[in-house]
Structures are given as C-alpha cells and as structure tokens.
C-alpha cells in the first residue's frame, strides 16, 4: 500500500468506528423509545460477538495438515488455565502470546 492508501484505510477505520459509537444517539434521539427487540439484542449480542471474534482470530488455522492447529489449541488452553489460576488478564495474555510465539518459531517450524 502507498501512504495515501494507508491513510484512506485508517480514515475508514476511524470513521466507521465512530459511526458505531454514535449510532445509538442518531437512532434514538431524546425522548424516542428504544424498541424491545433492540434492547434484547443489546443484552445478548455482545457475548455472542466475543465468541465470534475468537473464531475470527483463528479463522486461518490449518486443521487438516500438520501441525493440525496444535500451537493454537495449546496456547488457548494456556491462556484459559492462567486466567482461571491467577484471575489476571494481562498475565494470561502475555504468557499465552509468548508461548505461542515460541511454539511457532521454534517447535512447529
């Protein structure tokens, strides 16, 4: 990408992100009631989307040939274990990422 193209991409990210933040205030200006269905989606969708984002991150994992997604699986298991053990997000994220990097760089080359 040229610098101009990168700038266009960043602008799209920025404008779209702000769009998602301001959307509620545009759709429901002062005094306008919020439809029950929207309220319901607001309660359930955030959790479903988190799960979707995990799948999104791992969408290019190769399962059918070696190493069969082993580094991803092991690193995710480590993150879960550390999070449950220490109740600390940063420790789990840092250790999981370092472990994954070591695995893909040294073990499963």
């Amino acid at each position: 990408m040229t610098a101009a193209q990168t700038l266009i991409m960043v602008t799209i990210f920025a404008v779209t992100t702000f769009g998602t933040r301001i959307l509620a205030f545009v759709l429901f200006p002062a005094g306008r009631p919020i439809p029950k269905f929207v309220e319901y989606l607001g309660k359930v969708l955030p959790f479903a989307i988190t799960a979707m984002l995990i799948v999104y991150c791992l969408r290019n994992t190769v399962i059918l040939v070696s190493p069969h997604g082993a580094p991803e699986l092991l690193a995710v298991m480590l993150v879960v274990a550390l999070y449950l053990l220490f109740k600390n997000s940063l420790i789990a994220i840092a250790a999981g990422t370092v472990a994954y990097m070591l695995m893909v760089q040294l073990l499963f080359v």
Binding site: A30, A75, V76
Partner: protein, 250 residues
C-alpha cells in the same frame, strides 16, 4: 469551585487498572503494527483517531493484506457494532454534556464505559467533568501505549512471528470474563456455535457476515426462552448493571 487539578486527583485513581491494561495492550498493538511494516507514526495516528482495541488489532490484519476499503468498512462494522449497545445505555447520561458530548461518545470504549458505570465522583464534584476527565485519561493511556509499542516494535530485532496471537488471547480472556455470569452463557454458546458452523460452510472471508446474520436469526427465533432465562438468572442473582466486559479491552 474545584480546580482542574481537583478533578484529576479525583478521577485518576479510578483509571489505574485501565492505565495498566491500555499501556500493555496499546504496546502489543504498536509492536504488531510495526511487524507489518507500519511505523510508530501510524500507531500514534490510529490510537488517536480510531481508539478501539479489538478494532485496531483487526485493522492491522486488514492493512497487512492490502488496500481493500470495502473489507475495512464491513469488518470494522462487525467488530465494533457492540458500541451501539453501549450507546443505548448512555443515551440519558450523556445528555447534559453540551459540546463535550461528542467527545464522550467518541471515547466510549469498553473500559471507559465500565468506569462510567462503576466510578462515582466525590461528594459535591461536578459529575460531567469528572467523567470527562476519566475519558480523556483513558484515551491518553491508549495513545501512549500504541506509540510506545510502535517505537519499540520498529527497534526490536527479535522475530515477531506469532505475535498476532495477542489478539486471540485478548478475546479468550474477555470471553472467560463474560462466561462467569451464568446468564451470558447461552448467548456466548450461540455465538460460538454459529460462527464455527459458518466458518466451515462459508470459509474465512465470508463467515463474519454469515454468522452475524445467523446469530440475529437464532436470537429472534428463541427470543422467548432466552429472555426468560435472562430475567430468571438476573432475579436469582441480583447484580449491579455490569458492562459486558470490564477487562483489558478498549
């Protein structure tokens, strides 16, 4: 009359957890971005103008795969649509802010949203200004983290292969945080199931759109039992109005 410093001293302690989280995650973002060949200037610019953790991590992947404005728009929309629901919770609270309302809306990240719900200004302090200072502080932490990461990433000589996993780890941790509350589990499982099935059927490029559609359909079909479970659980274990995630994710 309170001084500016008074607001800063009152707000700062509430933001310390976010300070740690944002500097750390911001640095991870900056290093990741630098590993794809974009220097600290870009990290700074993105931290200032986008200011969304998950969104920026996803953006790195998009930037690395070339110029594609449509994909940039669609994926950003998918990743960030949850903001709509934060906004809905803040409709009333942001009304008295005047012009600062636009900044408050712009800066409404997951963590800032959480702080707005959980932190309270000291007796007699003007509420609007207290929350505005919280929003500004969080934004500064994020910008500092992103820029530092960009500088560090450009200077690092070690191989950064695999650092993308930081994003996976982030979402796994957020998922676990949400999983603690029993009433979140059915929606979480529906999301997981729908996106896995859609990934297999539609492939890596199209499954996001497909799974969003599938989720909305499933949630509408099972609205009755799901909302019943939600309200039953909520009655069974009363809790304060928790945001979906209070952990490290802007």
């Amino acid at each position: 009359m309170r001084t500016q410093k008074g607001f800063l001293f009152a707000a700062f302690p509430h933001t310390i957890p976010v300070l740690t989280g944002y500097v750390f995650m911001g640095m991870a973002f900056g290093v990741l971005l630098a590993s794809k060949g974009f220097g600290s200037g870009w990290a700074f610019l993105m931290g200032v103008t986008i200011y969304a953790g998950s969104g920026q991590f996803v953006a790195v992947g998009l930037m690395a795969s070339g110029f594609d404005p449509m994909a940039a728009f669609v994926v950003t929309l998918m990743v960030n649509i949850r903001h709509l629901f934060y906004g809905i919770s803040m409709l009333g609270r942001f009304r008295p802010y005047g012009k600062a309302k636009w900044y408050m809306i712009f800066a409404l990240t997951d963590e800032t949203f959480a702080l707005h719900l959980s932190a309270n200004p000291p007796e007699g302090m003007k509420e609007e200004k207290f929350y505005l200072v919280i929003s500004i502080l969080d934004h500064i932490y994020w910008i500092v983290g992103c820029t530092l990461g960009g500088i560090l990433g450009s200077a690092l000589s070690i191989s950064t292969t695999g650092i993308d996993f930081v994003m996976t780890a982030l979402f796994v941790v957020i998922f676990l945080g949400q999983w603690k509350q029993k009433q979140n589990r059915t929606p979480a499982l529906i999301g997981l199931g729908a996106s896995l099935v859609c990934r297999v059927i539609f492939g890596p490029d199209w499954f996001i759109l497909a799974s969003m559609a599938a989720m909305v359909v499933i949630f509408s079909l099972f609205k009755k039992p799901i909302s019943q479970e939600l309200s039953l659980r909520l009655e069974a274990q009363p809790r304060q109005e928790d945001p979906p995630s209070t952990e490290v994710q802007p």
